[in-house]
């Protein structure tokens, strides 16, 4: 049985100009100790998905429908009390900006001890000892000294290491990391990512990694989801999606990377930009930017414009695209004369 099972998740925001659907029918699952990447550009809904997992969607946002099962318990029916016991304990999180996670007026030690003592019945000195051990695990130099320092005294990379130490403090089953290295420099990013990967493997912790960086996803995760305008459009093993993407948007995203074109030549750009959630195109939300959805005369293909594409299986991946479905039907017809 999977550790986490999300089905038909639908998150909406009630705004003055009407209801906006930020997540539409998002489903995925995660095995114990598995690492899943959620990829997409800004506005794709990947952060909303992470926040929904932790019940951090606040008004005017709300979970309209869907279920989130974690270790066989339905999280969407949790009370605030139950959430308090779960968050930071069995599911913990790492956000992009460590300064948002850390309290600027408390020392590192005070925050770690507070977190431990909120969930476990242990003495302050025991908690301090445990915090020290975790700081050593994330390879922070002179950890004793750090416990008595304030977040502003540390560099960005060091802060993010501390956030990781806090996330691992209570041996969680799942860590949700929302762009954990985006604010850091490349060499520091590489160090932090290697550390996170190693710790997740050693402690058998599941990881949901939300990022826009395809390189990071391909190095850290085993499976991935690609999101566009609030929907999952492709999911499957990371290697297979990176090497052979099926959805035109995933293909476009990978082909747009500078390393996919010989130096000096024009890059393969995707035209247009991500629609705002208030104005999501009908049918397949990607159709105005998709080459396949264009008929030779330039008008959109009626099927793509009218109908939301259902998921079809393609190898080990699932893809929501009319083109992929049509190709499969053609293949089938050829195979059965």
């Amino acid at each position: 049985m999977p550790l986490l099972e999300v089905e038909g998740l639908d998150v909406r925001f009630a705004l003055r100009q009407g209801e906006v659907q930020a997540l539409r029918d998002v489903s995925f699952s995660l095995e114990r100790g598995e690492r899943l990447g959620i990829v997409g550009e800004s506005g794709a809904g990947k952060s909303v998905a992470a926040f929904a997992l932790l019940n951090l969607i606040s008004r005017p946002g709300f979970i309209h429908a869907g279920s989130i099962r974690f270790d066989n318990e339905e999280l969407t029916r949790y009370s605030e009390r139950q959430w308090r016991r779960t968050r930071g304990n069995r599911i913990s999180m790492i956000f992009q900006d460590p300064m948002m996670t850390l309290n600027p007026v408390l020392t590192i030690g005070a925050q770690m001890i507070e977190c431990l003592r909120a969930h476990r019945r242990i003495s302050t000195s025991e908690a301090r000892k445990l915090s020290l051990a975790r700081l050593r695990q994330v390879q922070i130099p002179s950890p004793e000294q750090r416990l008595d320092q304030y977040p502003h005294e540390l560099s960005g990379g060091m802060r993010q290491r501390i956030v990781i130490a806090i996330a691992l403090l209570l041996d969680p089953d799942l860590i949700v990391a929302d762009e954990p290295t985006t604010a850091l420099d490349v060499t520091i990013q590489a160090e932090i990512m290697a550390l996170l990967l190693e710790l997740c493997e050693r402690h058998n912790v599941g990881l949901i990694l939300i990022t826009h960086d395809l390189g990071v996803v391909s190095q850290v995760t085993q499976r991935m989801l690609v999101m566009y305008a609030g929907r999952v459009i492709e999911s499957g093993p990371t290697r297979e999606i990176i090497n052979d993407p099926q959805h035109p948007y995933t293909q476009g995203l990978i082909n747009a990377l500078p390393q996919m074109t010989p130096p000096g030549q024009r890059l393969n750009q995707i035209r247009g930009s991500m629609p705002s959630l208030a104005h999501i195109p009908s049918g397949c939300a990607f159709h105005p930017r998709c080459d396949f959805a264009q008929l030779p005369d330039g008008s959109p293909r009626p099927g793509c414009r009218a109908q939301v594409p259902p998921f079809v299986d393609s190898g080990n991946c699932r893809v929501a695209c009319h083109m992929v479905r049509q190709m499969q039907q053609l293949d089938l017809e050829e195979a059965t004369p």
Partner: protein, 345 residues
């Protein structure tokens, strides 16, 4: 164009030369705060951020020179000093052989038309109270006060079309556009006065992947069509590999390595360049072996003695801790490293 006769036109010489550039920013407050009693005597104690510590660079005509490095390495300070937005503490900047650092604003005017800048954050670089066409007309009016209105408007339409923004959107304001569109408008504003040299400070870092490709394509098209020279500041090495003709790698305010792009990516020489290249998250799983760096970038307030990189360098020795390495030519490449010079890299 009458104002520009004074500028020399030697085609072979570098377009821009930077020599011995230093820039430090004072961290200390006023004079009274700097005074301290130490050992019974009054001493003045001043602290500085040493943002650039002796940078020599040449930008050749028609090239796209990329400056890469991590935050705090001084790459943006180089860009801003070149544009005259901040004045250097030491050193000189020559444009077509003429010194432009420390020029009076009026004397700088003809250079300002030839040199334009694109900033990182298109949300901050467009005036929210001006329409797009006002934004684009302003630099043209400023540099060509003799142009009649019709000519200014025609020019605005031309640059808007060049960057793929429909000219009838000119009546709109900046906030009505997406990040990618705003960056196109910022590029249009730079192109509006027909510059020959553009300094772009992280122009695509704030944009999404698919939009980054659009903006990079636009900049490459503009370079071909308008014969532009770029000084491109970025931290993204994948972009450098694609866009740059030559690359300058900076660390803590000094230049580590200057090389033609292909050579740098094929055979990085400086230990920092190697670590930087190996840290890029690649799509393929069989990647280069990672050069792991220990520690973090030291603060630019108290610079380490010797080579600024020695604290994190895997092959540093006694000499590196003592003596500052100078840029030396190795084939097409300039490297500042004792280890490379001694052949123990």
């Amino acid at each position: 164009m009458s104002a520009n006769h004074a500028i020399a036109t030697d085609e072979a010489a570098p377009l821009l030369e930077i020599k011995g550039l230093r820039k430090r920013f004072s961290l200390s407050a006023g004079l009274l705060d700097q005074l301290r009693f130490r050992g019974g005597r009054l001493v003045r104690n001043r602290k500085y951020v040493h943002a650039i510590n002796g940078v020599d660079l040449e930008v050749l005509r028609g090239e796209a020179l990329c400056v890469v490095g991590e935050s705090g390495c001084g790459k943006s300070t180089v860009a801003r000093t070149v544009m005259g937005l901040i004045s250097p503490s030491e050193g000189e900047i020559r444009y077509r052989g003429e010194r432009i650092d420390g020029l009076a604003p009026r004397a700088l005017l003809p250079y300002r038309r030839r040199m334009q800048m694109i900033f990182q954050n298109p949300y901050a670089s467009l005036n929210p109270r001006m329409t797009i066409s006002q934004t684009l007309q302003e630099p043209i009016r400023f540099h060509h006060p003799d142009w009649e209105r019709r000519r200014v408007e025609e020019k605005v339409v031309e640059v808007m079309e060049a960057v793929g923004i429909a000219p009838d959107w000119g009546k709109r304001f900046g906030h009505e556009f997406s990040g990618g569109q705003r960056q196109r408008i910022a590029i249009a504003r730079a192109l509006a006065v027909d510059p020959e040299f553009i300094v772009a400070d992280e122009p695509i870092s704030a944009l999404d992947v698919s939009i980054q490709a659009q903006v990079l394509n636009l900049m490459m098209d503009a370079q071909r069509e308008r014969d532009l020279t770029y000084l491109f500041i970025t931290h993204d090495l994948a972009v450098v590999e694609h866009f740059g003709t030559r690359v300058v790698v900076m660390y803590l305010g000094t230049v580590c390595e200057v090389a033609p792009t292909a050579a740098l990516f094929a055979t990085p020489r400086h230990p920092y360049t190697r670590a930087l290249l190996s840290a890029i998250p690649r799509l393929s799983d069989h990647g280069v072996e990672r050069v792991r760096l220990s520690g973090e970038v030291p603060t630019p307030v108290e610079l380490p003695p010797g080579c600024v990189f020695h604290g994190r360098c895997p092959i540093a020795n006694e000499r590196c801790r003592r003596e500052i390495p100078q840029l030396a030519r190795h084939g097409d490449t300039l490297i500042a490293c004792h280890a490379v010079e001694e052949g123990r890299d």
